[in-house]
Amino acid sequence: MSPAAVVGLSLVLFVLGVIAFFVKRDLLTQFMAVEIMLNAANLAFLGLARGSARIDAQVIVFFVMTVAAAEAAVGLAIILHLYRRRKSIRTDELDKLRG
């Protein structure tokens, strides 16, 4: 379990998140893809800090998770609000701002 393997896994997860974000047309699933990307970043932090007995990585992971939780709460509230108004959360139907 070398740092290279861990960083490789985090890379694969991040790219899967990016692909999911672009391929999906469903706001909720796109939001989940963002969460996958955040977790990939956390994994890279922990994988690179391993063996050096640094505590900082875990503290940063803690902050990332806190911000992710706040972001999830607000984002899901926005999605609910949008659904109440438009009856749809498909991003190809929400094109009112397009010129």
Binding site: V15, I19, E35, N39, F62, L76
Partner: protein, 191 residues
């Protein structure tokens, strides 16, 4: 009985010349969890049902929690399971239940995005891989695993050196809470 079993196992392992060291066991568990988490993320791309997607994400985050534990970070592993696979995903599932239960899921209208998305992903993979390769090749860090970081040390660090960011985080959470409540409120009819 236990000693007998242990002897038997020793005999078997001697006969097959197959000894699993703790490091090897950690490697095997790491690869299993890695395949599970990446597979769950890939299944999320294929599946069309948001409810299933949320459950795949729970699987992915739980496997990542196990990997965090293997990386000598028990605090991060516990928080990952509790906060991510627990709290945040429950929030997601609530919203999946409140939003459309029977997603119409028509065939994707824009085929262009279906090709463009993976193409961008591959370019990004190549780019990030090159960057990571450069960093990992230049740093000759010893892969020896040091002693794990105890959660108490993390807490001590959090309340001394990082106390200021920690307090700002609480303000951020308060703001998010108020914002979520305001956004989630039912609209009053204008009268």
């Amino acid at each position: 009985m236990d000693s007998e079993e242990a002897e038997g196992l020793g005999l078997v392992s001697r006969r097959f010349c197959f000894i699993i060291t703790p490091a090897m066991a950690a490697d095997i568990v790491f690869w299993i969890l890695a395949v599970v988490s990446a597979g769950a993320a890939a299944a999320m791309i294929i599946s069309r049902n948001p409810g299933h997607n949320a459950l795949f994400l729970v699987l992915c985050f739980s496997a990542l929690g196990g990997i965090f534990g293997l990386l000598d970070a028990p605090f991060a592993a516990a928080v990952q399971i509790l906060v991510y696979a627990g709290a945040i995903m429950v929030l997601f599932i609530f919203v999946v239940m409140m939003v459309d239960p029977r997603t119409p899921a028509p065939p994707e209208r824009r085929k262009r995005a279906k090709i463009l998305g993976p193409a961008i992903g591959l370019v990004l993979l190549f780019e990030l891989g090159t960057a990571a390769w450069g960093i990992l090749a230049n740093s000759n860090r010893s892969p020896a695993s040091g002693p794990g970081v105890a959660p108490a040390d993390v807490g001590r660090r959090l309340f001394t050196e990082f106390a200021y960011p920690f307090e700002i985080t609480s303000v951020l959470i308060l703001a998010a809470l108020v914002g979520a409540v305001v956004l989630g409120k039912k609209e009053e009819p204008e009268s």
